[in-house]
């Protein structure tokens, strides 16, 4: 259990709010689709803040115009990886943006162990900091069980 005010990892757009229902998630997907964004689904067992490349659950859904379709994919991802972090990511290919423009977590493991802070004492008062994901103490194939 993490000790921050919401007791969990606070990445993404809506981590401080009560868990979004599927109906609420569909509204967010619609908002992105109306703006021409492409949705994709990513999952990981290591949500280290510098772990940029979560696994892709299939390709970005460039041609999908329907929130129900994205939700279906999400449900399939949840079924396959119930104990992983899953995030919905919207991409905007407009020139000058060409980046992610929405991102929020839609599935979490039942327990979120969080991170340890390792302080390596250097010369003088300098300290070198390392954030350590507790979950990575176990081999990749044995996490989230």
């Amino acid at each position: 259990m993490m000790t921050n005010p919401v007791g969990r990892i606070t990445q993404g757009q809506f981590s401080f709010l009560p868990e979004l229902t599927d109906a609420e998630i569909a509204l967010q997907i619609d908002y992105g689709l109306k703006r021409g964004y492409a949705w994709s689904i990513e999952y990981t067992d290591d949500p280290h803040p510098r772990n940029t490349y979560w696994e892709m659950f299939g390709m970005p859904m460039f041609d999908l115009q329907d929130a129900a379709g994205v939700l279906l994919e999400l449900q399939s991802c949840r079924k396959t990886f119930p104990q992983h972090y899953i995030r919905l990511v919207a991409f905007d290919a407009t020139r000058g943006v060409e980046s992610i423009v929405m991102c929020f977590i839609v599935n979490r493991p039942s327990s979120e162990p969080g991170f340890g802070l390792i302080r390596q004492e250097m010369q003088g008062r300098n300290i070198r900091y390392t954030l350590h994901s507790y979950v990575t103490d176990r081999p990749e194939g044995e996490r989230g069980e």
Binding site: P5, P47, R128, Y129
Partner: protein, 501 residues
């Protein structure tokens, strides 16, 4: 003086029937003085080239001074002219070096003031140097006696000159990718009190704010290295707080370490130390000057650092409508000079700012192409030529109860900084941060769901406060705090002109 009063000129109506440029070179270069418009600084038929810089000045001529002669004088004094004819002009292609006033119009609803459009050839400005451009455009001319007052309202910078600048080292798109934060404004707070905290106490505020849910904390503009807290001490404690908060939340966190100092050598030393400690961001104050800003931008580019700009001092020359420089011009120059964050006003907070005018500053920071927009004070189309976008910062007297207004005014790409609105929370700094983060996320969610946040904003906040006691406390404490004073800097335009453009 050549620019002597002329009878019958009221200053409100521009006249173009006076003397024009003298083309006979023998007469033109006879020793002595002559009117600026006769020297070639007024050319109503001039068609600006795509490579010209165009400035729009607001001129208040002294009593009886003809507006066109005043405009020609501004063109002259901001380019090649001196007060008398010099024969050495004839050793140069002097006509191309002369800035040319080509249009003068009365300022709507401001008798005695005129807008003057002046074009400058691209040869006049050194590539990649805001210092050089400003030395001309806002140099001697601002002290010119025949003018009561002078203001640089807007500037069109040609693509050819834009491309000589590197621009923001990071820019708001890459900043978001580095921070892994998308689809909502970023949240920050300035550490308070500004002065007097020891390094250890200071770091406490940083830790509480970041762990509570803010993305950034910030040094204030006048926190450098004073007796109560030397800079190294501050950096060491702050970075411990940043890393501890990052571990507690799983988010990338930052704190703008102010590296402003008395010399460039000191600034570099401080910036290097910030980098060594793993900070993602450093900050400088506008008062360090253009050359120092460009140097720090280059340093930031080489060191993967976000460069935060606090616009300390700008109010001395941007606020009064009759004299100085509009902040939209400063924002354009700063985008070229290469800052990643720029304080651009709040409209609803404690500091000066008409909402539309402030939105104009934001657009200048964030647009790929800025279109003429007279209600927002934007007189020119401006192609930014893919130069990176600056993240605007709203800071100064804002609180969670204004979240709907802030999101509605500024959209997602902004850092909202609640200093007092976080640290002054009755239940503590973490609670203050939670209140702001919950208010923000609830408002973004509601907007995306299609709700009209301008109309329903207060209700959305009340609903969110039902599951978040810190937000309820924030609304109880500050809910009805507003700063409703008439702005001093608003745009002057004729509404029909806006439609016609």
């Amino acid at each position: 003086m050549t620019i002597a009063p002329e009878a019958g000129t009221d200053g409100a109506q521009a006249r173009s029937d006076g003397p024009t440029a003298i083309t006979d070179t023998k007469r033109r270069y006879r020793a002595g003085v002559m009117k600026y418009r006769q020297m070639g600084y007024w050319d109503p038929d001039y068609v600006p080239k795509p490579t010209d810089t165009i400035c729009l000045f607001r001129i208040t001529p002294q009593e009886g001074v003809d507006p066109i002669e005043a405009a020609a004088a501004v063109a002259g004094e901001s380019s090649t002219a001196t007060w008398t004819v010099v024969w050495t002009d004839r050793l140069t292609a002097c006509d191309s070096y002369r800035a040319k006033a080509f249009k003068v119009e009365a300022v709507p609803n401001n008798p005695g003031q005129v807008f003057a459009w002046i074009a400058y050839d691209i040869i006049l400005f050194e590539a990649g140097s805001i210092a050089n451009m400003t030395a001309s455009l806002i140099g001697n001319v601002f002290g010119f006696k025949p003018l009561k007052a002078l203001r640089l309202e807007d500037i069109r910078i040609p693509a050819a000159y834009i491309k000589t600048f590197d621009g923001p080292s990071t820019g708001l798109i890459v900043e978001r990718e580095r921070l892994d934060k998308f689809g909502r404004p970023l949240l920050g707070a300035t550490t308070k009190p500004k002065l007097g905290l020891s390094g250890r106490n200071y770091g406490r505020v940083i830790y509480e704010g970041l762990k509570g849910g803010l993305d950034f904390m910030k040094d204030d503009e006048n926190i450098n290295s004073q007796p109560f807290m030397h800079w190294r001490d501050r950096f060491l404690y702050v970075m411990d707080a940043v890393n501890k908060a990052s571990a507690a939340t799983g988010e990338v966190k930052g704190s703008y370490l102010n590296v402003t100092a008395g010399t460039m050598e000191d600034m570099y030393e401080r910036a290097e130390f910030a980098r060594e400690l793993g900070s993602v961001v450093v900050m400088i104050d506008l008062v360090v000057g253009w050359t120092a800003i460009q140097s720090m931008s280059r340093w930031a580019r080489r060191n993967d650092m976000i460069l935060h700009m606090h616009r300390a001092g700008h109010g001395t020359y941007t606020r009064q409508k009759s004299h100085g420089i509009s902040f939209r011009v400063i924002a354009k120059w700063l985008r070229l000079a290469g800052v990643d964050h720029l304080h651009a006003g709040t409209a609803v907070g404690k500091l000066e700012g008409d909402p539309l005018t402030v939105q104009g500053y934001y657009n200048v920071c964030r647009d790929s192409f800025t279109h003429q927009d007279l209600p927002r004070g934007i007189f020119f189309d401006q192609d930014w030529c893919d130069i990176r976008k600056v993240m605007p910062v709203a800071s100064g007297g804002i609180h969670a109860g204004q979240m709907h207004q802030l999101l509605d005014l500024f959209g997602d790409d902004v850092v909202l900084q609640f200093g007092g609105g976080t640290i002054g929370h009755p239940a503590g700094i973490q609670a203050g941060a939670v209140a702001n983060r919950v208010a923000l996320e609830a408002m973004v969610k509601a907007r995306n769901e299609g709700r009209d946040i301008r109309a329903e904003g207060e209700e959305i906040l009340r609903q969110a406060a039902r599951f978040c006691r810190p937000l309820q406390q924030a609304l109880d404490t500050w809910g009805d705090v507003t700063f409703n004073y008439a702005p001093t800097d608003t745009s002057d335009f004729t509404p029909t002109a806006a439609v016609a453009h």
